[in-house]
Symmetry: C2
Subunit: 468 residues, 2 copies
């Protein structure tokens, strides 16, 4: 996707009513197409932003999508196409006439094209590749050569490069001639004859410089770049950290091969956030959108985690089985098992959420682990004491037995402390041994705390109730 | 924070070793300051990016922070200061001499200054406001007049505005003269004599236009803007959706009052993500950073949610108490209570996570609720059957009683279906009645499913075991 640097996309609406307007465009478009009023539909779309047209087209029945798309002018069609979901892009490619496909695919940004090719069947990709213009074919083949989710795959090779010995005036001329085909003209890159990246400057630097100065005088020689194999999340974090508009991508010999721009980073961060949030919910995220995923695929993706958790739960069952004697004599103890383990699970989930999020945003580093675990243990103790006192009276009110109530209250304090220690230390442990700390998230902590909780509770109960 | 449009910040390091290098800068800086080697410390910081200098200063003992900060040149000091945590900004303000403070605060971007003033004691703020230059005072007072987390508060009034009747050549001259004081020169705004926003264009548009064309010829008249009271997350979503570099902020009379730029949006989205993730972990997020928050404050913030969950758990206890008879006769049933309710909780958490994330990213809308709940119920049934068969044999292996094992297996199927229905429908319900759907997240679903799970299990068990 390229920046909307040219702002060529109308719609004078304030944000509050934007969502309703989008809904309206979608339903109006469908109504007009059903009436076969193509002129009306065309007029409707004129003041609409490409991103919103894409959404409206996605909402149409599949047979109408091609018709709606053909209403657009050529330049608009390319912009809108880049905003479409990959599944819709795919079905359009299959519906289009050969020349239509080539016209659009040839004019897409190389990074968007690489993403589309990822989704299309290999046969169609090789046919399309063969029909692209030589420059575009080279650009796409370059990107497709890198692993998914790396800087090399998400970059665009369409940047402006300058030479050190050019004057500012010459550089501005060059930028003017490249403005239509470059992803951005605001970040400019200086390379030597072997394409090594030697400097960087911004259009702002050029605008304030004197026309007769050379690029070598104006550029910054020390710069931040990423390697082609850098993970996309790392690229995103660098742009976010340093407030960049774009970051250059270099190969192992420091030759400039492309750039990643901030607008792509916003989409990457959203995808990474979904992955993190899914991990916290005990889910694996897939590339497809929710409604396009087959339910058996959904079940298969979820069942793995559930099995792991279930096996952990078996330990809890085994602990309880081994303590049946005390439960047989004091059946009222059973009533508080779910309460205690769920309170423990919740305290542990809070601690693990704080640590996992802190590790993700670099606010907490692994070197601070002992400090964090100590803090969480104290917080857990405070919470345990508050909740324990409350539960003590509650248990007495429910069962009328002070000894049982004491067992419940004391256990809750111990469980809260242990849960917060487990919840805060396990993500660090996972990070240290090279796993994603998010795997140690709420569902896992909750299940792990179940075992500990039941063990503590039944032993405390036995000590209090069975002591002669 | 302003864009790093000028790239004036060195450091020629590839991304992979960046984290270790940051650690090294931090420890080296402290060592040099401890040896009182100020020249060495100064030299160390020369090739380091402002964001990294800020991080290194934050890692120093408080007494050294001022000394380190004073090593920086004036222009560097301002850049670094804007990257510092607000608590460190605050403590530096208190340590500085009066003139130092004014020098820095006067040169900060108005949006960063407003954020700092939010944190400082009111007495210091009014003293600082009085000492600012008139322009800066007006800019800051304007922002402080808007609610926190709105477009008005996070915008900057330092944009480039042009007039329709100017030529492209005149506009470029104007931009050149404003390049040093504007937040961005890449997005340009056209206003009439009453400051109404009438058009928008980009520096790219100007660069490719002919010098004698007028701005009115080149600009786009239909544009996307936000009102001053728009929520910051909405502003962020607009910039993300349309791939903008900046969005204009207008007052109720459509007068241009400021702009919000994409670099601020990255920070907003990170903060909003933390809030969402915290909600999923049953936590309330505070403005402060983890280590600066007092432990009693931490406990107070967490205990509210825990109490709500605990009270819900009491229902589970009550259900079990009412079924003591069957538990007394078949104590082996107890062993599977934690397993069943935790499996149910995990299935429910998966469904609620998918729905909450979908609602947040607009992938799922409330109009699709029946479709989504039906899908989740079927997924829940599939998962329940797979897990149920597994648990059936497991329960027999553990307790050697086929009737108990059947009760466990059948219950698990029913619990999984109910959990996925509850997990997917409750977030929609919350959204519909105007609450944040994230409140219906894993901890709550888990606890709610406990009640249902125990009820189903003990009733199924009674039907199977106590039927004559």
């Amino acid at each position: 996707m390229s920046f909307t640097e040219d702002n060529n996309s109308p719609a004078s609406i304030s944000a509050t009513s934007r969502r309703e307007l989008r809904e309206l465009v979608r339903s109006q478009l469908q109504a007009l197409l059903e009436q076969e009023n193509l002129q009306g539909a065309k007029a409707l779309l004129v003041p609409v932003q490409p991103a919103d047209i894409a959404e409206a087209i996605e909402g149409l029945p599949e047979t109408m999508q091609v018709i709606a798309f053909r209403l657009l002018s050529k330049s608009e069609a390319i912009e809108v196409y880049e905003f479409l979901d990959s599944s819709v892009q795919q079905s359009l490619v299959e519906e289009f006439k050969r020349q239509e496909v080539i016209d659009i695919v040839d004019k897409m940004s190389p990074d968007d094209r690489a993403r589309l090719f990822d989704e299309l069947p290999a046969k169609i990709v090789s046919r399309l590749l063969a029909e692209l213009s030589p420059d575009e074919r080279r650009a796409t083949a370059l990107l497709l050569g890198y692993e998914s989710d790396t800087a090399g795959r998400i970059m665009t090779p369409e940047y402006v490069s300058l030479k050190e010995n050019w004057t500012v005036g010459e550089a501005l001329e060059r930028i003017r001639s490249l403005a239509h085909v470059s992803e951005t003209i605001y970040s400019l890159y200086v390379t030597d004859s072997a394409r090594h990246l030697t400097g960087i400057l911004s259009l702002r630097d050029l605008v304030v410089a004197q026309p007769e100065q050379t690029i070598g005088d104006v550029m910054v020689r020390e710069l931040v770049s990423v390697q082609t194999d850098a993970d996309q999340e790392e690229v995103a974090r660098i742009i976010q950290r340093y407030d960049f508009l774009a970051v250059p991508v270099v190969d192992t010999e420091q030759r400039l091969v492309g750039i990643v721009t901030v607008d792509d980073v916003l989409d990457i961060l959203e995808a990474e956030t979904t992955e993190d949030i899914y991990a916290l919910g005990g889910l694996q995220s897939g590339a497809d959108s929710y409604f396009q995923t087959n339910l058996f695929t959904v079940a298969r993706r979820r069942v793995v985690w559930l099995f792991v958790l279930l096996v952990t739960s078996v330990a809890t069952s085994a602990v309880i089985s081994s303590q049946q004697e005390v439960l047989q004599r004091f059946v009222e103890l059973t009533a508080f098992i779910p309460l205690l383990i769920s309170a423990g699970g919740n305290v542990g989930a809070q601690s693990s959420t704080v640590v996992i999020r802190g590790l993700n945003t670099d606010e907490i580093s692994i070197s601070k682990a002992p400090h964090v675990v100590r803090r969480e243990a104290i917080a857990g103790a405070l919470l345990g004491i508050i909740l324990g006192i409350f539960v003590l009276f509650l248990a007495y009110a429910l069962q009328g037995n002070w000894l049982v109530a004491c067992a419940v209250g004391i256990s809750l304090v111990a469980i809260a402390i242990l849960a917060s220690i487990a919840g805060s230390s396990l993500p660090f442990l996972f990070q240290a041994i090279g796993f994603d700390p998010a795997l140690m998230s709420a569902p896992f902590i909750t299940t792990a705390v179940d075992v500990l909780g039941v063990m503590i509770y039944l032993n405390v109960a036995r000590a209090i109730l069975l002591t002669p």
